[in-house]
């Protein structure tokens, strides 16, 4: 109960190789670039509701983020690599999310934290966007309501693996296909 089990570890290696399009590092400079990017991520917390509280708690206990190298939290998009979406995204807020994402300089990655940011969560209503992936391309999802600090650390580790293996971006999902039942 202290982290992903062997079964899940194998499945994620399988995913990274087969499902996610990755490129191999060619040469020392390419490898150095990826190693540097993965070990010094500057984060931009885009929080609007309850999950933002749990993220602040993680930031307050500096030791956990220090180990990951992600402890610099800047509220400015021009100076950050990783955007953490924590909280519900509404139709009024969606253009702002898109414009903040566009201002970030590439290469950039996105982490969706909590059930509201991943898929709309409890709220199937007229004013909630059903998942941030309809506006910006998301890399890693963290389920939970709100997720614990340990779950967020696991998510950050996954982002690091993606950077090291050179994963390519998925396109923005416009409409999810219906469930086959």
């Amino acid at each position: 109960m202290t982290g992903p089990q062997d079964f899940i570890q194998q499945e994620e290696d399988f995913l990274l190789e087969k499902l996610v399009m990755t490129t191999k590092a060619s040469g020392l400079i390419d490898w150095l670039k990826r190693w540097g990017q993965s070990n010094s991520l500057w984060t931009l917390p885009f929080g609007s509701s309850c999950c933002a509280l749990e993220f602040i708690l993680l930031g307050a206990s500096q030791k956990k983020l220090d180990d990951m190298g992600c402890d610099i939290v800047r509220h400015s998009p021009e100076r950050s690599d990783l955007m953490i979406i924590a909280g519900t995204i509404t139709e009024k807020q969606a253009p702002i999310l898109k414009s903040v994402y566009d201002k970030m300089l590439s290469p950039k990655w996105v982490l969706a934290m909590g059930s509201c940011a991943s898929s709309g969560g409890l709220y199937r209503t007229y004013s909630v966007v059903q998942g941030a992936s309809r506006e910006v391309p998301v890399d890693v999802y963290i389920p939970g309501c709100p997720p614990t600090s340990d779950a967020v650390i696991e998510g950050l580790k996954l982002i690091k693996e993606r950077i090291l293996k050179g994963a390519k971006k998925t396109p923005v999902i416009k409409k999810k296909p219906p469930l086959n039942l």
């Binding site: 509404t90 009024k92 969606a94 007229y126 004013s127």
Partner: protein, 554 residues
């Protein structure tokens, strides 16, 4: 004394006046005489505080007119609430009450936004939905999944803002937009600056409007409890208690004594967590981030206690209709008393780190508000008590065992930011006092009422597949059914009076649910409070008001 007052109301209103419950009066009015009735209530009967304006769409019931508007007012001296009902059609117009109560403007904008009710003195703008939204969501013929995308990007100086003051180049507009560390991601303030001084401010809310009230019309009463957790997410237990108390009062149900005591304990612990977060974020925004880390460490101790009881730290869902979801585990009460002792010790340090120190006082003795203005806008809670008015629902109209425990209500004198900080830090100590008193004398007994139509039977009996199995299945499939009626019930939340207005038609889902958020009128008064001060004072005022967007926008 109360009889004379009731006699006066009966003489004026005649048959239209009735007393629904103690402390809740109802008056049926008509469109033509509405203004006269409201003037009489304000000037002669001292119903000074406007609590709420709530609209209802009666399309699915066979009434002659489609819309119904309920005004709720409060008399502070006699602790009475009155509801004024008005029925109107789609083509008729409602008179505006902004000249009598300043805080009615946003309530009227919300009526237009949600129902399409128009007013006599001109059109209103939308409050919670975006400006390209078509339709009125809370009408019964509006589909809940009718999403409409906002196509134009954010406009920094829209036309409606330009029409108000400020000849250029002496003054200019500054946008403190929604994605800002001070506004916590969901509020927008447009400030008109002349040099360094603020001349005026305009607010925009609705960035976290999730449609809670429309969702409730399709869910059963017990399924709404996880949704109320997320209204004021800092103090989740107080919202659960407010909702369950409203439904229990509608059914005239008496819950067991142990459930009452447990609800008090969890409510006060939640209030302490909310004040920790509020003072902590105030410290961080004013330049002392170690204060935030200190308070979060203390909050961690209480969150672990919650986890040992119900399994979650933030979204608790502690209560069920009729009592609590489970009983206390063994050893919890002792642990709780130890935590309270360690909190009391560390709070002495805190009060010395902030109170009376020159750098804190220089930043926070600003932006005072008078008691008369606070009542005109509709303030309740710590912001009203910082102005000097002694009104707390736990003392004035005590519920559960609040009249058996000893505690005091701290009052400020000036109504500025420093007073709000002092009132909150003193309330933490009083809440911890209540928790120790209740845990010393915890009454024995069941933790939920033993009625088969309201509460689920015990799991061990259900597993044996007897009579309890049938009751369990029935209750989950068909739900709790309160009698036909309506109620406005209020409890003391962490920010002020948290009210729930519920209309039920005897089925398993409610017909209309409205939440009266305590920070709605407080944020509405922000432009007037901040006039004439500098930008850093405006930041300090915003954090001291403790605006929580989940509650403001619902």
């Amino acid at each position: 004394m109360a009889n004379e007052f009731f006699q006066k109301l009966k003489n004026y209103f005649g048959n239209q006046f009735s007393e629904l419950r103690p402390h809740e009066l109802v008056v049926k009015s008509s469109l033509e005489s509405l203004s006269d009735h409201l003037k009489f209530l304000k000037n002669d009967c001292q119903f000074v505080l406007l609590l709420d304006i709530c609209g209802v769409d009666n399309k699915e019931r066979d009434f002659s007119k489609r819309f119904e508007v309920n005004y709720h007012f409060l008399n502070l001296e006699k602790h009475l609430r009155i509801r004024v009902k008005v029925f109107l059609d789609e083509t008729e117009r409602l008179p505006s009450v902004v000249s009598l109560w300043k805080g009615a403007e946003w309530f009227e904008r919300e009526l237009w936004d949600m129902f399409g009710v128009s007013f006599e003195d001109g059109p209103r703008e939308r409050l919670l939905n975006h400006h390209e939204f078509q339709g009125h969501p809370l009408r019964k013929d509006f589909d809940i999944e009718n999403r409409q995308k906002l196509s134009t990007p954010v406009n920094l100086a829209p036309e409606s803002y330009k029409k108000l003051k400020g000849p250029p180049p002496e003054s200019y507009w500054l946008n403190i937009g929604p994605s800002h560390p001070i506004t916590k991601g969901s509020l927008r303030i447009m400030v008109e600056l002349e040099g360094e001084k603020i001349k005026d401010a305009l607010l925009e809310v609705g960035y976290l409007h999730r449609g809670f009230e429309k969702l409730c019309e399709g869910l059963k009463y017990n399924q709404i409890i996880p949704h109320t957790d997320r209204l004021n997410y800092c103090s989740a237990a107080l919202n659960n208690i407010g909702w369950c108390k409203a439904i229990e009062d509608l059914m005239d149900l008496e819950i067991p004594e142990r459930a009452k005591a447990l609800r008090m304990v969890f409510g006060e612990l939640s209030r302490v967590v909310d004040h920790f977060i509020s003072i902590g974020s105030m410290a961080e925004d004013l330049g002392a981030p170690t204060g935030l880390w200190f308070f979060l460490e203390q909050r961690e101790k209480i969150c672990r206690l919650f986890e040992k009881y119900c399994g979650a730290r933030v979204s608790l869902s502690l209560t069920r209709i009729g009592g609590m979801s489970q009983d206390l585990p063994i050893g919890w009460a002792n642990e709780c008393l130890n935590v309270v002792k360690s909190l009391k010790k560390s709070l002495e340090d805190v009060s010395k780190m902030f109170s009376q120190l020159p750098w804190w006082m220089d930043k926070t003795r600003v932006c005072a508000i008078t008691a008369k203005d606070a009542l005109a806008w509709g303030f309740t809670g710590p912001c009203l008590r910082a102005c000097g008015i002694n009104y707390d629902l736990r003392k004035v109209n005590p519920y559960y065992f609040y009249d058996d425990v000893e505690f005091e209500i701290p009052l400020g004198s000036n109504g500025d930011v420093y007073d709000r900080y002092l009132v909150r830090s003193e309330e933490i100590k009083q809440s911890l006092k209540i928790v120790t008193q209740v845990l010393d004398y915890l009454p024995p007994g069941p933790h939920i009422v033993e009625d088969e139509r309201i509460a689920l039977p015990e799991k061990s009996l259900v597993h044996k597949r007897g009579e309890a199995f049938n009751q369990h299945n029935d209750l989950i499939k068909y739900g709790v059914r309160p009698p036909v009626g309506e109620i406005y019930s209020a409890t003391e939340g962490a920010n002020g009076e948290l009210g729930f207005y519920v209309q039920s038609i005897g089925e398993e889902t409610p017909y209309r649910v409205k939440v009266r958020p305590p920070c709605f009128p407080i944020f509405q008064a922000y432009p007037e409070v901040v006039k004439g001060s500098s930008l850093s004072d405006a930041y300090a005022t915003l954090t001291s008001m403790n605006i929580i967007p989940g509650e403001l926008d619902r």
